[in-house]
Symmetry: C7
Subunit: 107 residues, 7 copies
Amino acid sequence: MSEKTPIKMLHDRVLVELDKEAGERRSSGGIVIPATAAMGARRLAWAKVVAVGPQARAVQAGDRVLFDADDKAEVEVHGELYVVMRERDVHAVAAERVGDAATGLYL
Amino acid sequence: MSEKTPIKMLHDRVLVELDKEAGERRSSGGIVIPATAAMGARRLAWAKVVAVGPQARAVQAGDRVLFDADDKAEVEVHGELYVVMRERDVHAVAAERVGDAATGLYL
Amino acid sequence: MSEKTPIKMLHDRVLVELDKEAGERRSSGGIVIPATAAMGARRLAWAKVVAVGPQARAVQAGDRVLFDADDKAEVEVHGELYVVMRERDVHAVAAERVGDAATGLYL
Amino acid sequence: MSEKTPIKMLHDRVLVELDKEAGERRSSGGIVIPATAAMGARRLAWAKVVAVGPQARAVQAGDRVLFDADDKAEVEVHGELYVVMRERDVHAVAAERVGDAATGLYL
Amino acid sequence: MSEKTPIKMLHDRVLVELDKEAGERRSSGGIVIPATAAMGARRLAWAKVVAVGPQARAVQAGDRVLFDADDKAEVEVHGELYVVMRERDVHAVAAERVGDAATGLYL
Amino acid sequence: MSEKTPIKMLHDRVLVELDKEAGERRSSGGIVIPATAAMGARRLAWAKVVAVGPQARAVQAGDRVLFDADDKAEVEVHGELYVVMRERDVHAVAAERVGDAATGLYL
Amino acid sequence: MSEKTPIKMLHDRVLVELDKEAGERRSSGGIVIPATAAMGARRLAWAKVVAVGPQARAVQAGDRVLFDADDKAEVEVHGELYVVMRERDVHAVAAERVGDAATGLYL
């Protein structure tokens, strides 16, 4: 098979690129807390959307999305690691385009 | 990515700011009971709503909401810790605006 | 936040005040059986309703309700302990107002 | 609270009075088999209905009903032990009134 | 209570009489295999229908039915052991009346 | 009961006859791999359909069907072992009649 | 039975041929990471579609599909190993035909 076959997401799937630093958190005092330090809580993470399936309506390629990093499905394409999730499992989106609907928080 | 990307909640998600003291309870005699002391019961906690998704109808930013703290999903934005939940998992709301529908209890 | 913010229950939630003696049972001979003695059975308990959400229809503030005490969600407001449940998990109600529909049993 | 508050069942709940001897079975040869002897099978038991909620249609107060005794929810009222179940979990009813629909078996 | 109260099945329940030999299987060579020998598979068994609830449509009293014996609910009436199941959990019926719809297998 | 009672499948049930050799697989090099060698994967198997219930539409008696052998329900009729499954749990069918819809694979 | 019986997929099932190298991943530096190295994440894999059932609409024979390799159901046909899945469990498709809907990623 050629190295040029295009990839398309199906259903409501969202394909994201993990941030390199997604595995760790920084406390308000600047101390790095490893991802495994969060006990009794599920750990959410941000990642950049690469592509969405035809039934995903609220997120677009280029958005950054907030999702549950504890139950992620990974795939590697040419040495880069990606994660696949369902749009209904995305909690929030960070993007210039969200404008008025925004939370008052910024990434 | 700029530090100015606005964040928007999706679906029925509610983003809250945890009270600093949320991890502990005070008995009627004033003795502090650590959060882990509640055995055989789920522990509810109050937190202030920062933003809600478009399908959340009963709570607003600024409300304080009662939720189940034992199964929380955390995210950190610029050193502050937030929790994401679904509106249907919010048990009660404390806000000046609730007026007549109130319980007779006050926070 | 002021100490005067009114609290409102959401959805079908019911807020109850636990009876002080709810943790123990008395056998017909008057011997006190601690709550943990009931083996192989779920333990039901009575509690007084303080407030109900807008979708709760069969119980009212002031009623005493029968519920499953083994899976309770607790919240403390100013040193008093309350429990939150869903109305569909309430098994029975004891109240002067139930009149004709009553079981023939009295609390 | 007065000792005279009437109790009403909610939804499809059925309140039954356990038979004193419900905890044991007698083999066809008359040997008593303790309730815990039934291995790999759920144990059904008969009990007399005291009251039913407004959505229970197939059983009435005074009927004896067959139910799964392994997952029972108990409540004590004035020293007597009762069990609460949902009508859909009742397998059979024994009552003079069932007449023609009966199985040919008698209690 | 008199020993003459008739019993009626409710909903889609089916009451069956276990075959005396239901606990064991015989290999094609005639060797008896105890019921517990079947590993990694659920064990089905035949039993004779005594009565059915009003929502059971495909089986009748007198039929023999095939069901999953690993999850049975037992009740004893006057020293005889019966099993209660839901009609949807009955896999097959053996009866003279099935005629044309039959499998070509005979009991 | 006579040994001539015909058997009829109910609902969407499918009755199949296990292949004698169903318990083992052969690697492409011809080495026999016992069924238990497949780790971390569910093992599918082929079997011949003997009879189907009235709600089974895609398979017929005489077809060979592909199903999940790890969760099978077995019944023995006159010394022969059969398996019962639901049609929705059948993954594929091998039969002369499938013609044009076929996969290009042959059994 | 002849070795020429055609096979047809049922319902929404998808039959795929596993890539020979599906069991391992290569890091961006070219180091081979065995499949079991992915901890706390589900491992996705690519495979080529051989056939689809009549209710599968988004994938076709010849496509390569992305699926969750941790819960696969395997079947061997004449010494070759195949995997069966449901179309709704396919996350993405790689095929020349996807053209405009593609992610910008290529296999």
